[in-house]
Symmetry: C2
Subunit: 134 residues, 2 copies
DNA sequence: TATTTATCCTTCCGGTTTAGTAGGAAAAAA
DNA sequence: TTTTTTCCTACTAAACCGGAAGGATAAATA
């Protein structure tokens, strides 16, 4: 039950942008790539859906780069993971009952719901700001 | 970040055995397969590592089947998942620091540790007995 | 205007994992 | 000796993962 590199790298990317929030110049991917030791090419891919979701804004050309579109305390880790990994529930039926045939009589459903809630409460509801200062 | 069918089906399998604990006759896979609507062939595969780990005992031949090797309150969901899915941490470095090059300076490490603990406390430490009565 | 620095856009790919299936051997009970 | 059940070894189609490649477009600067 692993988080993929999309979720992990994407979160690091967002935290870099959060740390840069309020600064005058946007942060280019080349700089983030250097700091995080992740290839620019891969970061480019990860940032597409984050921008599409409205979490990030970009400025092209020299001295361009990316900035958060909102305050770091208005973006949660859960949003970031949802965008990059899709539904983060450890078991799909938690969000989509039709996934399991035996949904009604399943002896493990409550178990997975408990796990899902624990994950949500612990990190999904955490904001970038909180994650930075943690 | 999904649990695979191994972990999900395996847990259901173990809960069936837990419900059968103390009964006179062992529970054959054909019966578990019927109740859970999972193929016998697949259950056979899942039960191998569970038996190897000493959680289960078997009796061959007619009227044979499987029984828990321990009390349902001495087996945790975490043990079952560990056996079937391997390390369950959402991010490997939580258990194996050498996994991440930037371990020292990583801005997300605490985050994943928090998530890992939340998962452990919520369900991994739960026993089969507790899971049954939940 | 030419160059440089960036984002933006599309495509491709090898390797691993997942979710099983298939076929039969061995043992125990009836 | 037939039936039931575990036990054992292979096999595989499809999906997913973790990127790399190659270039187009836009903006700032010299
Ligand atoms: S695992 Fe989905 S309902 Fe049980
Ligand atoms: S993700 Fe492993 S140290 Fe940061």
């Amino acid at each position: 039950m692993k988080l993929s590199t999309r979720g992990r790298y994407g979160t690091r990317l967002m935290l870099q942008l959060a740390a840069n929030y309020g600064k005058k110049t946007p942060l280019p991917l080349t700089e983030i790539a250097r700091r995080e030791e992740i290839s620019v090419k891969y970061l480019e891919q990860l940032i597409i859906p984050l921008k599409a979701a409205g979490l990030i804004e970009s400025r092209r050309g020299a001295h361009g780069g990316y900035v958060l579109a909102k305050d770091p305390d208005e973006i949660t880790i859960g949003q970031v993971l949802q965008i990059l990994e899709g539904n983060i529930s450890p078991v799909p039926c938690v969000k989509d009952p039709s996934f399991c045939i035996k949904y009604e009589t399943c002896n493990t459903r409550k178990l997975w719901e408990t796990m899902d809630k624990a994950i949500s409460k612990s990190v999904c509801e955490m904001t970038l700001k909180e994650a930075l200062s943690a």
